[in-house]
């Protein structure tokens, strides 16, 4: 509201200043986000209602949207769906603790990530960076076929997984699961999304498949499977492949 940037800057992530649209009706949170994001070199546009948020999305073409699910006029999930009808702008939803189901619905409706109130700056920035990077990588048609982080090395093209230099045998489903997680590294993936990606559509009721396979995968690639370093559990929602920044 106070920082109008009518002349929206370039859309690419490596442009001068990416624009973030914050749709939230709570002034303290608005203020916190504005101060933090501005200091991190972002343009910030503020909207207090879902309707004005939708208008700003169309008019200002932001690079990222931070959307509170509890809006006074329209449900945040509806806002997500209406944006997704015509745009793939990354959306990060915010909601309170105990509303896991709402978050899952929003994520399945197309939101990219979520934050649970209250959250800290580190967490916020990590999500924002991942979302923007994801847009950037998605634009590149051919990515790097080798992923390497810590003691884990995955050659996606050759279907080879090495842990601490040793070859690890993965079943086809395990490998597919790991691939999906790595391709979405840093982003939360809901159980349903993973099921659909790995087992195909029509298997979305079997969420324990995902849990069991993630457990097996952890036994094979994690240093301490009970305290995983790569595949983190987002309780009640899904999994996130942790990336080093």
């Amino acid at each position: 509201m106070t920082v109008p940037s009518t002349e929206s800057s370039t859309k690419s992530a490596n442009g001068p200043k990416p624009t973030i649209l914050v749709i939230d009706d709570e002034p303290p949170l608005q203020k916190f986000l504005r101060v933090t994001l501005t200091s991190q070199n972002f343009n910030v546009i503020e909207a207090l209602t879902g309707e004005s948020g939708l208008r700003h999305t169309a008019n200002d073409q932001p690079d990222l949207i931070i959307l509170d699910l509890g809006l006074p006029d329209i449900d945040g999930v509806q806002v997500t769906k209406r944006i997704r009808e015509w745009s793939s702008i990354p959306i990060i939803v915010i909601s309170a603790r105990g509303k896991e189901q709402d978050k899952v619905v929003a994520l399945d409706a197309g939101a990219d990530d979520y934050l649970t109130k209250p959250f800290g700056v580190a967490e916020l920035m990590a999500r924002v960076r991942v979302a923007l990077r994801h847009i950037a990588t998605a634009n590149q048609t051919s990515g790097d076929s080798v992923f390497e982080q810590g003691h884990l090395r995955v050659d996606l093209a050759r279907r080879e997984v090495t842990v601490r230099g040793e070859r690890v045998h993965l079943t086809p489903n395990e490998f597919r699961l790991l691939t999906v997680l790595i391709k979405n590294a840093g982003r939360v993936m809901t159980h349903r999304q993973l099921l659909r990606e790995v087992w195909g559509p029509g298997s979305s009721d079997q969420s324990h498949y995902v849990r069991v396979y993630v457990n097996q995968l952890r036994q094979k690639i994690e240093r301490d499977p009970a305290r995983p370093g790569f595949i983190l559990t987002e309780t009640g929602i899904g999994y996130r492949f942790q990336v080093d920044d």
Binding site: H208, P228, L232, T235
Partner: protein
């Protein structure tokens, strides 16, 4: 013995004191008692009332008979006379005492003439003495008048003396309970003089009051009766006075009289005699009716007579009971023996002697078996017999077509069986000797008669025997195929056959009647038992009301309502067998309310407000009345004694159940109040303190940063900022705990159960507490092959996190934490153990209670909800939580999760 016999019995003294107290609250009753109309009772009453009024006492005239004597009229001058209540009845205006006006006026003394008067229909009570009783109950003194012939117990004597049946009677107990009785007496000659002078009745009344009544002989006899009644009273008062003075009472101790009641019209006379006998003996007396299986055949007139007689006994001050048994004498004797009866009164049998010889006589049985008990046999009247005989003759042998068909069929079958036996395969031929004697064929017929007699009515049996005799005669007695009988001895055979059929059918009939009676009793007992059981299971008054009206309706076949009182003693309908709770009209509600207020049965079939639709039985429990049971009979039929007993049994069961529910409600409310109070206090003190502490930290750190920013070192600034974040997080945990607890308590915990590996739950909890656990050595011992658990992941993560949080709060900063999991066939055990100071002895069970906080050193924080939430969540999953100290020091908290059948997994690829 040191204890003297003359020492007053403490129970009697107590009874005396209670009687005095009751009397003080009650108004005093003075009766002006005379032998007949015209002796000057009203005059005496009014004269005394005037004297009281002259003493400044608040005296009103409630009701005075219109008199023609000017001297009596004159006494009314200047007195306050309450207006009459005028009732229109059959085109006549009847003047009645206005009871409500008296109660509203509430004078000190009210004069009410003619105590024995019967009220016009539509008044609250059937009788004026009931009005007077209510006035007395209200604490108002009453003067009234009464003639001796109206006393219930002398009613039949008066009838015998004068030949006039007096319809308006009142129970002797009313006179007995009077505080004062003044006999108003003049010589019979003088009364006759007054009658002749027209001073007793107006001319037109005199026509009706038979001149024969005022004969000298009658008057002398009546005078004697009046004097004797008064003398008996004086005698009783004297004895009472002696008892008060502590003198050992002079009469034989505890005489008890039992009078046998039956459907005979002479029963009321027997009851009256017994009442007089008991009064003379100052003895308690009981009227008993024995219901035998044969009574199912009683006509409704008979039943009503039994009931009326029992009611009469009740009114005369006796106790009415109804017994059930096979044999009247047996029941009477066993009741008498178990109730210490000293005298049994029974009416003289009215039937021919041969019947006694054949069927036995109750009186004979009683006399023979009574042992120490005296038997008084009272004379009845000759005319009674025919009345009794009439309904008996009209009984059974009802027609039934099936019986007739069976009778014919049985005869035909017997013939078909008998024919080849007797005649062989040829036709009847007198020249040949029969295969079997025709007596054997007769036996076959007899089997047929037996069959019909046991399965059908007596008429069918008789028809069958006649048919059999005819068929036998026609087909098997020579000469064949004619009804002619050549041999005289067959006539005897026919006679015996008929007699056999009759005897068998009579016996069968009796057995069947007994079985029917037993079935009825059984059904009632079963209903009572079922009601008791149902009521025992019912928790709320609503359930109790529904159950009791349903059962009572089922058993009595009458619409039943249950009206319960609230704290203001106001009745409301709680249950109705018709299902609608507005089925009782305001007028009926008033009757019910009256029954409740006066703790007396009222309504249809009773003496109070008999014109009502329903009968209202007060529900009496140990702490007083709880309400009223309303019964609405479909017809105007009054109650049978057994029904009344059953209703009373139902009423008392219901009353006890309602009281129990009320008590339980009260106890629960009290407990809830205490607990709510405790929770509020704990919450207020605990929560306010726990919320303020982090707020203080936040405010302090934030103001320090704003106001002294320039002078702060980087190190100090960082420390303040960490405080800020830490305290904010603590506050968040506290609020989360409060919300979780609220959700658990309100049942709003909506578990989203999914199959998961335990590793993931523990891993997520550890990850959530990552930065607080940095300094700790967390050792995990979780086997890789544990089965999956079906739980809500977020809730379970909360359990583990809360257990860890608890350990972080209560154990030294660097002490290790062990998390171990194992599974047996049914449960998965998860143990979270610390190496801290352990739990204070005796608190192992209490740590999971709400608001429990172990006092383990200074600076401990939290409001004692974390572990309570753990328990709530785990129990919602069907698991258990427990805590213990471990041998090597430190505490171990364990929770379990049930292991269910594992979900299907496809081939591991």
């Amino acid at each position: 013995m040191l204890m003297g016999d003359a020492r007053p019995n403490p129970d009697l003294l107590l009874a005396e004191v209670q009687k005095e107290e009751a009397k003080q609250r009650r108004g005093r009753l003075k009766v002006f008692f005379g032998m007949a109309a015209g002796v000057g009772k009203t005059y005496a009453m009014l004269e005394e009332a005037r004297a009281r009024a002259a003493e400044e006492l608040d005296v009103v005239i409630g009701y005075a008979e219109p008199h023609i004597r000017t001297e009596t009229e004159a006494l009314l001058l200047g007195m306050e006379i309450l207006p009459y209540k005028t009732i229109e009845y059959r085109n006549a205006n009847l003047k009645e005492l206005d009871l409500d006006a008296v109660l509203a006026r509430k004078p000190a003394l009210v004069c009410v003439d003619e105590l024995a008067h019967t009220n016009a229909p539509g008044m609250r009570h059937a009788k004026r003495w009931q009005d007077v009783a209510e006035i007395l109950d209200a604490g108002i003194n009453v003067y009234t008048t009464l003639n001796v012939q109206h006393l219930e117990s002398v009613n039949d004597i008066v009838e015998r003396i004068t030949g006039v049946r007096v319809r308006e009677t009142l129970p002797d107990s009313v006179l007995e309970q009077a505080d004062e009785v003044e006999l108003v007496d003049i010589a019979p000659e003088e009364l006759q003089e007054r009658f002749r002078a027209g001073k007793v009745y107006r001319p037109e009344q005199a026509e009706r009051a038979s001149k024969h009544f005022f004969t000298k002989g009658n008057l002398t006899a009546l005078r004697e009766l009046a004097l004797r009644t008064t003398a008996q009273r004086v005698d009783a008062q004297m004895q009472e006075a002696r008892r008060e003075a502590g003198v050992k009472h002079a009469w034989a101790a505890s005489e008890r009289v039992l009078v046998c009641v039956g459907p005979s019209p002479m029963s009321p006379r027997v009851v009256r005699s017994a009442s007089r006998l008991a009064a003379g003996l100052r003895a308690e007396w009981i009227a008993a009716y024995v219901e035998t299986p044969a009574d199912v055949r009683l006509s409704s007139d008979d039943r009503q007579r039994v009931e009326a007689t029992l009611k009469l006994a009740d009114e005369l001050g006796g106790k009415a009971v109804s017994l059930t048994g096979q044999n009247v004498a047996d029941e009477i004797i066993s009741y008498a023996e178990s109730h210490n009866i000293t005298k049994i009164v029974i009416g003289k049998p009215q039937r021919p002697r041969w019947r006694d010889v054949l069927f036995g006589s109750v009186v004979d049985d009683l006399v023979r078996r009574s042992g120490d008990i005296d038997i008084h046999v009272i004379r009845g009247e000759a005319g009674d017999r025919t009345e009794r005989a009439a309904p008996a003759a009209s009984r059974p042998t009802t027609w039934d077509g099936r019986g007739l068909t069976t009778a014919i069929t049985a005869t035909v079958i017997a013939t078909l069986v008998g024919w080849p036996l007797y005649h062989g395969l040829h036709g009847p031929d007198a020249s040949r000797a029969p295969h079997f004697s025709n007596i054997n064929v007769l036996m076959i017929y007899l089997v047929g008669v037996l069959w019909v007699a046991t399965h059908h009515t007596r008429l069918a049996a008789i028809i069958c025997s006649i048919l059999s005799v005819a068929a036998f005669d026609f087909l098997f007695v020579p000469p064949y195929l004619t009804f002619t009988v050549s041999d005289q001895q067959y006539l005897l055979t026919f006679g015996v056959m008929l007699l056999t059929a009759l005897t068998i059918s009579t016996l069968t009939h009796r057995v069947r009647a007994q079985a029917e009676a037993a079935r009825q009793r059984e059904r009632r007992t079963a209903a009572l038992f079922a009601l008791t059981r149902e009521l025992a299971a019912a928790r709320t008054t609503e359930e109790i009301a529904a159950a009791s009206v349903r059962y009572i309706h089922d058993v009595l076949g009458q619409r039943t309502s249950l009206l319960l009182s609230d704290a203001d003693h106001h009745l409301t309908i709680k249950g109705d067998s018709d299902g609608k709770n507005d089925g009782v009209t305001p007028k009926e509600m008033a009757v019910a309310q009256w029954a409740y207020d006066h703790d007396q049965i009222a309504g249809r079939g009773t003496n109070t407000l008999p014109a009502s639709e329903g009968t209202y039985v007060p529900l009496r429990a140990s702490r007083g009345l709880v309400g009223v049971l309303g019964l609405f009979g479909s017809d105007g039929r009054s109650w049978l004694p057994e029904q009344r007993q059953l209703t009373e049994a139902f009423a008392s069961q219901t009353a006890i159940a309602v009281e129990r529910a009320t008590l339980a409600d009260e106890a629960r409310t009290a407990w809830e109040r205490v607990e709510a109070e405790f929770l509020r206090n704990t919450l207020l003190s605990g929560v306010s303190h726990e919320l303020r502490t982090p707020l203080a930290g936040i405010t302090g750190a934030a103001t320090a940063l704003i106001e002294t920013d320039q002078r702060l070192s980087d190190e100090a600034r960082l420390e303040l900022l960490e405080t800020l974040v830490g305290e904010a997080e603590r506050m968040e945990r506290l609020i989360n705990n409060l919300l979780d607890m609220t959700r658990l308590e309100s049942g709003g915990l909506n578990l989203k159960r999914e199959w998961q590996p335990l590793h993931e739950i523990i891993g997520a909890a550890l990850h959530a507490l990552d930065h607080r656990l940095k300094a700790r050595d967390v050792r995990l011992n979780i086997p890789a092959d544990l089965p999956l658990v079906n739980v809500d992941a977020a809730a379970m993560e909360q359990v583990v996190a809360n257990l860890l949080d608890n350990i972080l709060e209560y154990t030294p900063a660097a002490s290790p934490i062990d998390i171990t999991a194992r599974a047996d066939d049914r449960e998965m055990f998860v143990e979270v153990a610390d190496r801290g100071p352990g739990l204070p002895a005796g608190t192992e069970k209490r740590v999971f209670e709400k608001f429990f906080r172990a006092e383990r050193g200074p600076g401990r924080r939290g409001i004692g909800l974390g572990l309570a939430i753990c328990r709530g969540i785990v129990e919602a999953h069907g698991g258990r939580v427990f805590a213990a100290n471990q041998p090597g020091g430190g505490a171990v908290f364990t929770f379990t999760v049930p292991i269910l059948e594992q979900p299907k997994m496809d081939v591991k690829t």
